[in-house]
Point group: C2
Chain length 315, copies 2
């Protein structure tokens, strides 16, 4: 049995986990992400943390198959990062650099893609060969697994599902500079935006009006309590989600759609809300899709990062 | 050097071609598709034609690596056809059945997917690892190649790009029963529909008004001649195509988009028309896409079908 590391590099913390080859997580810890100075210190910090762990636990080279890392930006199949704005990084080969620093074989991928691989391997998509993973947080990220392999994309930005176009008539501008992106409707931020637009439309009574700092959770809670305006907002949200996932599934024909991120904390009510709208929009031949909640939470990235290394380096 | 057959099964004719392993087409011919009696005769006819060709040219078993076939309907990775309405077929394993009839290893795929594989191998997408292929004919078909492999989809209906949703507010119904599908705007039929809607809107002078049976080609011809209404229709068409391909490329991040089918006969003016609108809608990280016209015409299906067999059976 061989072992290895999975690293999930975020804008504020780096999650590092130690696994056996079959994907049992044996240990995990975090270090801060030091973004000062163009993020120069980030890889040396990771290498030092891994070296320290190996020393403390007497892990020799021959016990290790390698290390995988997920990065918040585009990474192509060769390991070249193409700018990570959050980290201050430009263009360089992270796989080569981190391999030089750690002495281990390294494989790198985009963070949302890698989380998809984690959920595919050990989470909500377990047992499937083809999945679509979406993470509904501040933004909308995604990952597509085709016959067990991650779709990296030519420029390392495969499955930027949050920037597919849902409404070409939209006038509000997305963070990416375009108009009408999935992210503007389907993210946790998007549903709050939809709610505010609805509340501003008329004077209909709603418990949501009493809240000063409306959140995604408030809307789901009010819906569960039967608030009519909240239910209307959720219906509109499910319609957008149905259109979004219907289009993606018509293109990709997956076995399962796995949904993670902040919005997914609403639980099965979210899946039950989306399904009827999904069937309104999906092509019939691709409609037999199982909807599942992501189950690995914040560990999805570390699992998926390690799976990248397993796929690349395990014998 | 080994050899093999590529078969493109259509609703009226079956195109059969004989190839060497490297993809040189050495011969091609057609037989009629006999759809009477639930299409019972189709596979025996193909097997008899292949057997006749082998007899005429003295081709022994050991010279052949196998046969590939493209089918007008969903086919999963195992070769199971899931209904071909045009042919009268239900659900069965075409790969196994045709293999029993010919004595050759057989691999099957969906016709648009297989045409994508042909264009990827020997046509407009040559030299790329990741392409999106769209065929703009009576309908809109598609194929997605990821790192050199065809995305079949879980139910054999991968890349049904014509049934992604472009406009959720559409009231007209698509052939598939949904509303607002890509096919309703971007097919050869779709552009004629857009033209008729535009012409009915007002009395603006246009050479298109003199035509009794408006075709896609008429609209491009009138546009080239400077007809203002035709140019307006084409602009609207390019906007729909930009939204469509922008969404697909944000999801898949291909190196090239290859466009075939009747509409592509308009030539480079089509690509030049689409590109600015594409950039309006695509996510920036996936925007470095090369647009190319399909170059294999009606032979794309036979090339791609044979490539299926090469990928599956060549040593």
């Amino acid at each position: 049995m061989k072992y290895g590391f999975g690293v999930d590099l975020g804008g504020t913390t780096v999650k590092i986990a130690y696994f056996d080859e079959t994907g049992n997580m044996l240990d995990k810890w975090e270090i801060p992400t030091v973004t000062a100075d163009g993020g120069k210190q980030i890889l040396p910090d990771i290498a030092a943390s891994v070296a320290g762990y190996r020393k403390d636990h007497n892990i020799p080279d021959e016990a290790l198959l390698g290390l995988g890392i997920g990065v918040p930006g585009p990474v192509d199949a060769s390991g070249t990062v193409n700018r990570c704005v959050n980290l201050g990084w430009g263009v360089f080969n992270i796989a080569k650099e981190l391999s030089d620093l750690t002495g281990l074989p390294v494989k790198a991928g985009n963070d949302a893609n890698v989380a998809a691989l984690g959920e595919f391997w050990k989470g909500g998509g377990q047992g499937c060969e083809n999945i679509v993973f979406v993470t509904l947080g501040t933004g909308v990220g995604g990952g597509i697994i085709v016959e067990g392999r991650l779709l990296h994309g030519t420029h390392g930005s495969g499955a930027e599902l949050g920037h597919m176009v849902l409404d070409p008539r939209e006038t509000a501008v997305c963070g990416c500079g375009k108009r009408g992106c999935v992210e503007q409707y389907c993210s946790a931020t998007g549903i709050v935006r939809l709610a505010k637009l609805r509340l501003d439309k008329d004077e209909a009574a709603s418990s949501l009006r009493t809240l000063t700092d409306l959140t995604c959770r408030d809307i789901f809670d009010a819906g569960k309590a039967g608030d009519a305006v909240a239910l209307e907002i959720l219906d509109q949200y499910y319609d957008y989600m149905g259109q979004f996932l219907g289009s993606v599934c018509s293109a990709v024909d997956p076995e399962a759609v796995v949904i993670g991120g902040g919005v997914s904390k609403a639980g099965h009510v979210l899946l039950e809300g989306i399904e009827p709208y999904f069937h309104k929009y999906v092509f019939h031949a691709a409609s037999q899709v199982r909807f599942a909640l992501a189950s690995l939470g914040n560990d999805a990235g570390a699992y998926g990062a390690f799976k990248l290394a397993v796929d690349a380096f395990a014998k």
